[in-house]
Amino acid sequence: MRLNDVERRMLAGELGAPRRWAIAQQIAVGEFFDAEDFVEVRQVHICADTEALGPSGVAFLEQMAGAPAHERRVLAPTVTDPRGADVARAARIRQPEWIVELERRAADALAALGMLLTNTCINYQSVLPPVRGEHLAFGDTGSVIYANSVCGARSNYEGGPAALAAALTGRVPRYGFHLDACRRGSRRYRIVDPPRGLSDWGALGALIGREQESYWQVPVVEAGNAGALNSDQLKHFGAAMASYGSTAMYQICGVTPEAPDADPNARATALGHADIDAFYASFAPVGEVLDVVVFAAPQLSLLELQSLAALLQGARVAGHTALLVATSPEIRHAADRMGFTATIERAGGVVLEGVCFYQMHARVLAEANGWRTLMTNSAKLVNIVAGYGYQPVLAPMARCVESALAGRIRQ
């Protein structure tokens, strides 16, 4: 890779050990993907929950945080992805103390590096939305696909150590979705029936995502029948597509800056209600008793919390069923002010902030609470939690709530 003066000085260790480590990592990855040089980034988003980090990852962060301030402080504004525990509410869901303690250590180290502890995967909705052409180092598959596809910004998937490296150098190797050549559309899809809610959008994202062969495919989507789109719809659509496919970008006609015009004559795979319903049916419950309902993955927006509070107004979740909600600290505070949190918690729900279900040691939670059957409106979450020993069912938010009140999985 071609290095400029600053990058050469970083590699020589003149700017301290953390930046030397960081740029060496980035050169290895850049050469793996044939990057010619680096590009500076305007914002970094880092996944560093304690479940992913483990004790060795936390120790690594602490070692970085122990460097002198001028050597360790990030060079680009850096925000954090959800954490592994909501310290104030961990006991309510029986998260053991060792997780909370590990979480405190990780958070202290991230803060010492100069990161902003936003603890959110919906930073594109709630912190600083990306803009067209902006180079980024985002660290959640859902945030990357949203930035590329909806905003026309440019980011690859930057896993935790890579996002840390980007934060320390203020740049990333220029390959993949930083380059025009990588952002061109491939296979075309046409949504022929209007999606009936957010979980339908997630199902559509999943159906498209699982057909993609690799990270390098960019599906083109015509959604003319879906009407005007909003951020929550595209959030669920993209998060599911990225989860099922390792897909970092789609083009949606009329939204994505690079997308072609919709073309009714172009060959396209049609997707409608029958496909979505078959997808729901693939998560048929094995039993009736419902252990836990989860609204998360991605964290909920203020509008989703408003919808959920309306469904739970004056109701009561069954005694043997837990109902968990995850959102960002900022959105939680807004929901507190507007009364949504109180409505949800009066009904028996737990509103968690700064976490996401699958990032908070889901296997430990299952064991501590005896949870097995799980219901959610997140297509991304059903894809992830089967590997953690859960038996997940995907359903629209209203049906998840009906089931939570009944304590049984309502079909």
Partner: protein
């Protein structure tokens, strides 16, 4: 000995037994990292141990957590020896750079059809080269 050429990789030069499936890979979605086995019921390698194996799979799938997780698994001695994929994504490359676990992708043909489970395989990331030293068939006298 068969030599298979891929793109220049990252990580350390290693040798070990292959574990192969025409399926995809994500550390967070697919693995019970405490027990060292594939735990996602729909995965072709469900229930099998990957510890100390050269994992040969199709493509990297969802999730950014794999890059921390592979290093954490390596720190506990519960990691695969190497990853050979038809298509890595950035997360896998970053994971390999961070953990030292060998990774090569973009082979001449479908790597999951070229190597069989049980083959002894040598992985040389700096050359982007994989050598199948002994196949299970030959060892069993077939």
């Amino acid at each position: 000995m068969t030599e298979i050429r891929g793109h220049k990789g990252v990580g350390e030069h290693v040798r070990g037994p292959a574990l192969v499936a025409a399926d995809n890979f994500s550390a967070r979605y697919d693995l019970d990292r405490e027990r060292g086995i594939f735990s996602r019921p729909a995965h072709e390698l469900y229930g099998q141990s990957y510890v100390g194996k050269i994992l040969v799979l199709n493509a990297a799938k969802g999730g950014v957590a794999t890059s921390w997780m592979l290093a954490e698994m390596a720190a506990r001695g519960m990691a695969p020896l190497a990853l050979l994929l038809n298509y890595a994504n950035p997360i896998m490359a970053q994971a390999a750079a961070f953990s030292g676990i060998a990774l090569i992708d973009r082979f001449d043909g479908d790597i999951t059809q070229t190597i069989a489970t049980g083959d002894q395989v040598e992985v040389d990331p700096t050359q982007g080269l994989v050598r199948v030293c002994s196949s299970r068939d030959r060892e069993s006298g077939d």
